[in-house]
């Protein structure tokens, strides 16, 4: 089996010395437009955010924001004191749960639509519906269904149960996010499946592999790269999702679903504490970056090393 996997690699023999020549002539200046854009849309705002997190910027100082008093780390101290860690915990746990739940659904859906059959096109299109619907629409529809006298309670016979506030709201958020986000994993898994060579299918058929060993030992290893990448992106998307909790629960959010983006939003746009909210954003960024960095180092998301390359 393993020899089978390695076979295609022969098609890409190493070319030892050509690298040096290309390196000398690499047109690095082509990066300039992209680089400039990065500086303008990412780097400068990031530096600004760092600066704002160190000053006392609110509606009183906004007009002459350059002169806003420098208060060092006071914003950071206050942010840790005002429920930020609670929000980070909710955000991260919810994101991980949502990702963990969407992966099996997404892969299963991809496998189901891999082989051609009548009506496959329709099934594929239907699978994409949650993904193409705007977040706002998804959240509005779910909010309507989850009203105390809404259709969900009527079907479940749980009249008057509160889904959009209280402890259950956390699970509502996870559930709706899963509903809206699983097609992303599905798409990535499907892309991975499509890149599996014909010969692999034929070879495992020749070897007499049943569908289950074939799936678990031959096909799924091919998916490792794309699905891990999808997991990473999906988790970050969950953490950054603002529209869904905002439309589902409104602002101020119930404590159980006061996710990071909601907290930062309320702090900056309802309390108008721009300095404090910038500090919150920076702290969250660091907290998210640490596991992300470790994870990236651990899995080395280089699809080309996974043997999926052609």
């Amino acid at each position: 089996m393993t020899t089978l996997l390695r076979a295609p690699q022969k098609a890409a023999p190493k070319e030892p010395r050509r690298r040096g020549a290309t390196e000398r002539q690499r047109p690095l200046w082509l990066l300039t437009p992209g680089g400039l854009l990065m500086v303008v849309v990412i780097l400068i705002p990031l530096v600004l955010a760092l600066w704002i997190s160190l000053i006392d910027l609110d509606q009183y100082t906004l007009r002459r924001w350059v002169e806003a008093p420098f208060i060092g780390l006071a914003n950071y101290a206050e942010s840790l004191d005002s429920g930020l860690l609670h929000s980070v915990w909710i955000s991260v746990s919810f994101a991980v749960l949502a990702t963990a739940a969407t992966v099996p659904i997404g892969i299963a859906a991809a496998v189901v639509t891999q082989n051609a059959y009548r009506g496959r096109g329709v099934v594929r299109a239907v699978f994409l519906i949650p993904y193409v619907l705007p977040s706002f629409v998804v959240a509005s529809v779910w909010r309507t269904m989850l009203q105390p006298d809404g259709i969900v309670n009527r079907i479940l016979g749980t009249d008057g149960t509160l889904w959009l506030n209280g402890p259950k709201s956390y699970w509502t958020l996870v559930l709706v996010e899963i509903w809206a986000a699983w097609p992303f994993i599905y798409l990535m898994a499907l892309a991975g499946l499509q890149s599996v060579d014909h010969e692999v299918h034929e070879a495992s058929a020749v070897d007499g592999a049943g569908w289950w060993p074939k799936l678990t030992r031959v096909i799924l290893p091919y998916l490792r790269g794309p699905v891990l990448l999808a997991c990473l992106l999906a988790t970050l998307n969950h953490i950054n999702n603002f529209t869904l909790p905002f439309v589902l629960f409104g602002a101020p959010a119930p404590d159980d679903v006061n996710v990071m983006p909601m907290l930062v939003y309320v702090t900056s746009f309802q309390s108008l504490r721009f300095g404090l909210s910038a500090a919150m954003a920076v702290v969250s960024l660091i907290l998210v970056l640490i596991p992300l960095f470790v994870y990236l180092r651990a899995v080395r998301l280089d699809v080309h090393d996974e043997g999926v390359r052609r």
Partner: protein
């Protein structure tokens, strides 16, 4: 290679040029109205988009005829959009010349210091301060000398009641005290019929009740730089407000999930006695429901809960001072034109036309007077006159948020059907803390 480099350079130049162009320039030029453009920022009207377009056109034409200049309307969809616009304009010193902002947002806008303070001369330019309903000036500035907000429209809060249901329950006239209201609501609640429709999940309604009941009991919530939320009057207000659902059971339990439009819809079905906290803009929704022709407006009670008459220091607040103010930007290069515009839209005929199209009450006193003879609107015009301004402090946004948060966090208890005083007190303590810290930061 050479051409490639050239292209890249050209690309970078185009990019840089595009970016500088984004900075914008709004030099509208010097003297005389002709050829100038006045930029007005105003809330989008999602309820009557076509009529709103037509209104903008007619104002624009009138303005052109009077001054030779054109008005360019910019709309914003949410309060947040508006805030972002104000922020960027304030920071960059350029943007709309005239802003229409909500009354409770006026203190926040004032605290940025980016708007023209109205002196005698400025008031004269727009036709004098006297032309406005005096109550509407209550939230124009921290004091008479420092006013920035020019009243434009008012949307006083009233309650709507089902005339047939009240009659059937033998209630001669709508309640004027909160206790009486609770009593009548109990009489009205039977079978699938409820006494009150209350939007517990609304993001703004809860604080309006709590503020109103407290101020009627003599506690304006803010005194100088001190927050007075941890106070018996506030506690009583929350108890009453939550009590309708938890203890008195006069509200549909589903109301824990209602925002204001949902409460309107519930009342419109004709199975509810009162719909608390609405404005004339809800008229169309009500007229389209089963309640059509069977409802009327009434003043909200002005006697605090637990009392039969208002205490000596209590204020007869029938509604928060609600509506829109016009603000002229300090950085505007077209201030005179801006005042011309403000003058135009606060004239009686324009104000009445606006009312007919969109249901917002005139801020102009004469125009308001002509509406008071309409029996349906009597209570509304009275509420407009008895509207009381919420405290004028830049911290109000935070205080309002803290008051609403008490309600938001209490919903799970309400859904279970009971809420203890201890729970209310703990949440009030949190609200007090954040309100006080907001006031401490106020400058």
């Amino acid at each position: 290679m050479r051409t490639g480099k050239f292209l890249a350079l050209a690309g970078a130049t185009v990019l840089a040029a595009a970016l500088t162009a984004c900075g914008g320039d709004d030099d509208a030029g010097g003297g005389g109205g002709a050829g100038k453009t006045l930029d007005v920022l105003i809330a989008a009207n999602t309820q009557y988009p076509d009529e709103f377009q037509a209104w903008q056109k007619s104002i624009s034409d009138k303005f052109k005829a009077a001054t030779g200049a054109t008005v360019k309307f910019e709309t914003f969809a949410t309060a947040n959009d508006e805030l972002t616009k104000i922020q960027t304009s304030v920071v960059s010193g350029s943007g709309p010349d005239v802003y229409a902002v909500g009354t409770t947002f006026t203190p926040t806008a004032y605290s940025t210091g980016a708007f023209v303070k109205m002196g005698d001369e400025e008031w004269k330019k727009i036709g004098g301060k006297e032309k406005f309903n005096p109550a509407t000036l209550g939230i124009s500035g921290p004091d008479e000398q420092n006013q920035v907000g020019i009243p434009w429209v008012s949307r006083p809060f009233v309650m709507a009641y089902n005339t047939e249901l009240l009659k059937a329950a033998g209630i001669a006239k709508p309640a004027t005290t909160w206790d009486e209201l609770t009593q009548q609501a109990k009489q009205l609640t039977k079978g699938d019929q409820y006494g009150l429709a209350v939007a517990y999940k609304d993001n703004f309604d809860p604080w309006k009740f709590v503020w109103g009941m407290s101020v009627q009991a003599g506690n304006p919530l803010v005194e100088g730089k001190t927050a007075k939320i941890q106070d018996p009057a506030v506690q009583k207000a929350y108890q009453t407000y939550f009590g309708w659902l938890a203890n008195d059971k006069v509200v549909d339990p589903a109301a824990v999930g209602w925002t204001n439009p949902q409460a309107v819809a519930a009342f419109a079905k004709g199975k509810t006695g009162y719909f608390l906290l609405t404005t004339p803009t809800a008229t169309n929704s009500l007229e389209q429901g089963a309640v059509k022709g069977k409802w009327a407006f009434a003043l909200l009670p002005t006697v605090p809960p637990g009392a039969t008459s208002r205490p000596a220091n209590g204020v007869e607040a029938a509604s928060i001072l609600s509506g829109d103010n016009l603000l002229v930007a300090d950085y505007s290069k077209n201030k005179d034109l801006a005042f011309e515009y403000v003058k135009l839209v606060t004239e009686p005929d324009v104000q009445l036309d606006y009312y007919k199209k969109f249901g917002s009450m005139p801020a102009n006193a004469a125009a308001l007077q002509t509406l008071s003879s309409d029996p349906k609107l009597g209570p509304v015009t009275e509420a407009a006159k008895k509207s009381v301004a919420t405290p004028f402090t830049g911290a109000w946004g935070d205080i309002q948020l803290a008051l609403t948060n008490v309600a938001v966090q209490s919903l799970p208890d309400l859904a279970k059907g009971s809420i203890s005083t201890a729970q209310i007190d703990a949440r009030i303590a949190d609200a007090q803390k954040s309100a006080q810290s907001a006031l401490d930061r106020a400058k």
